[in-house]
């Protein structure tokens, strides 16, 4: 299964869409499928400064709690309020309506180590590690 183009990916299965100096972050379809039914998402606060690869929240499925890592650092601009009432949006539309937060990017240097769709697909095809 091809991964959506126009996005960057982390090894922790987050995606990042860059629009100027703003990034939108979510978890990948592979990640939501591995987690199963998502029942709660804990996101960073708006205005919070986050560091690349830092543990900044949790995603909880029926069975398990998983840490949420951020693929980029910066200042959190907005979180997806729709997830408070309907966390399963992440299951239904991981790359769209199920986005997690927007961040003002700390810089573009951090983007260099993220994966392109082909490299992420290789990671996923390899069992996700």
């Amino acid at each position: 299964m091809a991964q959506p183009e126009g996005l960057l990916y982390s090894k922790e299965h987050e995606w990042l869409k860059v629009d100027g100096d703003i990034g939108i972050v979510g978890i990948t379809d592979y990640a939501q499928n591995s987690l199963g039914d998502i029942v709660y998402v804990e996101l960073p606060r708006e205005g919070q400064t986050i560091k690349q690869h830092g543990s900044i929240g949790v995603v909880e499925s029926v069975k398990a709690v998983s840490d949420l890592f951020t693929p980029v650092g910066g200042v959190v601009l907005e979180t997806n309020k729709a997830l408070e009432a309907d966390p399963a949006l992440v299951n239904r539309d991981a790359f769209g309506e199920g986005w997690l937060y927007k961040v003002k990017l700390a810089g573009t240097a951090e983007l260099a180590e993220l994966l392109d769709p082909a490299a992420y697909e290789t990671l996923v095809a390899d069992g996700g590690h």
């Binding site: 199963g36 804990e42 029926v62």
Partner: protein, 371 residues
């Protein structure tokens, strides 16, 4: 005897069926078992509204024969065995000398033998324990069919329509917690109206070799009724909603049947049985920590092991927890708490990642069918 600690995982007779259905296989009780197929909540919904089919072949099936079985089993367990009627099934708990739960089980009384089903994860201790307890007796003979016999459960309000027409006995007329010997789809089976989901349903004990075809027949026949394969994940949510304990959580060697909320099954009027004296003392003192139902007020789920507080004082810990679709989609849990914190309505706090979240004690079960 069956061992699995450190040994390779075993597969049930239905392993290939699970893989073909997209089941996500995980280690459980020494076997590779499906934790989910289409998704835990979808499978839960199928069982509550229509029907689900489960592979429970990892559970250990023992056959007990001999004149002495009833009295022998009565001496090892908290519930009555000898008073069981022919073809009756009954929940029971083996206790240790301290009154803790050694395993929770089901007995089935068949015309010429008894069927005993124990938790897969406890089979490595239960089989030697039972053999030891029966040694030197010629009136109790044990035979393990763990892994060779399969167990298929069909659970849900439509289960009877799916299963009964395949049986050569009147399965629809079976009362809850009764069973029959007969054939299902032509193969010999013990057909039991039992289950662990809080729904009506059947458990079908068949030879492993007969299981894959029966599984496929049930799925094909059940499709018209909305039957779906359901895994251990859905089963755990279903049993938690129904207030049924899971060994290792609500019942352990240190959590007695009384503390675990299974006092209804403890018959202290029985002649002596393992652990009776400590259970009597526990009941009289009535000061023990006990399992309660909790409902959390927020959307943050609790998890097993989280600490429970009352007015800043730690009073216990969460044992099982889940979102409960049959309880208003609220986050529910069982917790082992001090007696003073156990009354229905008591406000408690659950510590989740360093923050206290409000909860209160509610009666168990969270879900009763027909309500």
């Amino acid at each position: 005897m069956s061992t699995f600690e450190g040994a390779a995982l075993r597969r049930t007779a239905l392993y290939d069926e699970h893989v073909a259905l997209g089941g996500r296989m995980v280690p459980f009780g020494g076997f590779e078992m499906p934790v989910q197929y289409a998704g835990i909540l979808k499978e839960h919904d199928a069982v509550r509204r229509r029907a689900g089919i489960f592979d429970l072949s990892h559970m250990a099936q023992y056959e007990l024969r001999g004149e002495g079985v009833a009295a022998w089993a009565d001496s090892l367990t908290v519930n009555h065995v000898a008073t069981m009627k022919p073809l009756q099934a009954r929940y029971n708990i083996f206790t240790n000398p301290r009154g803790g739960a050694h395993d929770d089980v089901l007995f089935y009384r068949l015309p010429d033998r008894w069927l005993l089903v124990v938790n897969a994860g406890n089979a490595t201790k239960m089989w030697p324990y039972l053999q030891d307890a029966a040694s030197g007796r010629d009136d109790v003979r044990l035979e393990s069919h763990h892994g060779s016999r399969a167990l298929i459960a069909v659970q849900g309000p439509r289960a009877v329509e799916i299963v009964a027409p395949l049986c050569d006995v009147d399965a629809a007329a079976l009362a809850y917690y009764f069973c029959a010997e007969g054939r299902v789809d032509g193969v010999p089976a013990v057909i039991a109206r039992t289950g662990y989901t809080g729904e009506d349903g059947f458990e079908l004990f068949v030879e492993g070799a007969d299981a894959p075809r029966l599984w496929r027949t049930l799925l094909e026949r059940g499709a018209a009724y909305g039957l779906e394969p359901a895994g251990l994940g859905a089963r755990d949510v279903l049993r938690l909603e129904a207030g049924m304990p899971l060994y290792g959580f609500e019942l352990t060697e240190d959590i007695s049947p009384l503390a675990g909320g299974q006092g209804w099954a403890v018959k202290l009027a029985k002649p002596d049985f393992v652990g009776k004296a400590p259970l009597l003392a526990q009941k009289e003192a009535d000061d023990y920590d006990r399992i309660v139902g909790l409902v959390l007020e927020g959307r943050v789920p609790a998890r097993g092991g989280y600490a429970v507080f009352s007015g800043g004082e730690r009073v216990g810990e969460i044992k099982s927890a889940s979102i409960a679709p049959a309880y208003g989609n609220k986050n529910v849990a069982t917790a082992l708490v001090k007696k003073d914190a156990a009354a229905v309505g008591t406000p408690l706090d659950v510590e989740i990642r360093g923050t206290l979240h409000g909860a209160h004690v509610v009666p168990l079960p969270f879900y009763k069918r027909g309500t």
